[in-house]
């Protein structure tokens, strides 16, 4: 049940036919994990907090630095040196005190991933490197929970939603890996991509619209174009190939 305050807070989105009171209650009962509290994690966390997701679990081992501030809008000058998850939790609770923010300052790896994402309805990818994205991808497949992939570089970004056993996974798309690197980026790009990821999460939780499954969206901020490419499950995929189809 929504409280009187929640009805007022979410009034404009409850007015959307596809959401309504029932949908808002679903969002309130949901738990989403945001893997990373940086460039992508910032818009994702802000908008999911504003939308009233009942519980957000934010995981990031890093601390805020000055060079983060061109894009990581969760963090301000006064936060330099703080754990990103602590900085994020403080801001998000100021924005919406009716939801629960879990701040976990850990490095995601093969060993702890399953426990970190236990009880979550979906994982949102806000990482800054490909190896950890593969850890998230594999974890989502093993746990059978959706993985909403996003990545940026320069003026470019991409998004794809993975429904384990139903749609192509990240590994079906990629040939190999790349070592972590310092990448160029300007904040408006993760802003666009993170908002699309948050939109996908809300749609998934509510069971509405058409998800970005078996296709990925490529955003080019310089040309201001969105291109869509079809992707199929790879039966030989070393992450999801052995998972029976849930079609």
């Amino acid at each position: 049940m929504l409280t009187r305050g929640e009805r007022e807070r979410y009034d404009r989105q409850i007015m959307i036919g596809e959401i309504g009171t029932e949908g808002q209650e679903k969002l309130k009962r949901s738990c989403l994990a945001i893997a990373g509290a940086g460039g992508l994690g910032s818009p994702i966390a802000f908008y999911l907090t504003a939308a009233g997701i009942g519980k957000l679990r934010i995981i990031d081992h890093d601390e805020v630095t000055l060079s983060n501030l061109n894009r990581q809008i969760l963090h301000w000058e006064e936060d330099i040196g703080r754990k990103k998850v602590d900085s994020a939790k403080w801001k998000l609770e100021k924005l919406n005190s009716t939801i629960q923010i879990e701040a976990i300052a850990e490095t995601i790896n093969e060993t702890n991933a399953s426990a970190l994402f236990e009880g979550c309805d979906a994982i949102l990818d806000a990482m800054d490197n490909l190896p950890t994205r593969y850890v998230l991808n594999r974890c989502s497949i093993e746990k059978g929970i959706p993985f909403i992939h996003g990545a940026v570089y320069g003026f470019e970004g991409r998004v794809m939603t993975v429904l384990p056993g139903k749609s192509a996974c990240l590994r079906c798309l990629y040939r190999g890996t790349l070592p972590p690197e310092k990448f160029p980026v300007i904040g408006v790009v993760p802003a666009v991509i993170g908002c699309i990821q948050a939109t996908e999460a809300i749609k998934y939780l509510l069971g509405i619209g058409t998800l970005l499954t078996n296709r990925f969206l490529l955003y080019d901020g310089l040309e201001l174009t969105f291109n869509e490419f079809a992707v199929e499950r790879n039966p030989d995929c070393d992450h999801c190939g052995s998972i029976p189809s849930k079609e």
Binding site: G36, A126, A151, L173, R175, L178, F229, A230, N234
Partner: protein, 90 residues
Amino acid sequence: MGVKVHIHTTHRQFTNGAEVVEVEGQTVGECLEHLIHQYPAMEKALFAKKGKLLNHVEVYLNHASAYPDELLKPVKDGDEIHLVLMLAGG
């Protein structure tokens, strides 16, 4: 009428700024060979060694992933190839 190859923004420095290059070939691999014949600097931008694409290069044929075995995929006149680079930042 051949096959159109859409060049990624960061690769256009190797194609004299061309966004789309017309090529010929029976497979994706042959089309990329023809691309490199026209613009030799594209070889290092696409291939780790002969017959092996760089890890971060993705090939899409008619807006669908050509992975795996991209280079062997058959093409016909009017087809379009997009060369896309993997992104890993966040």
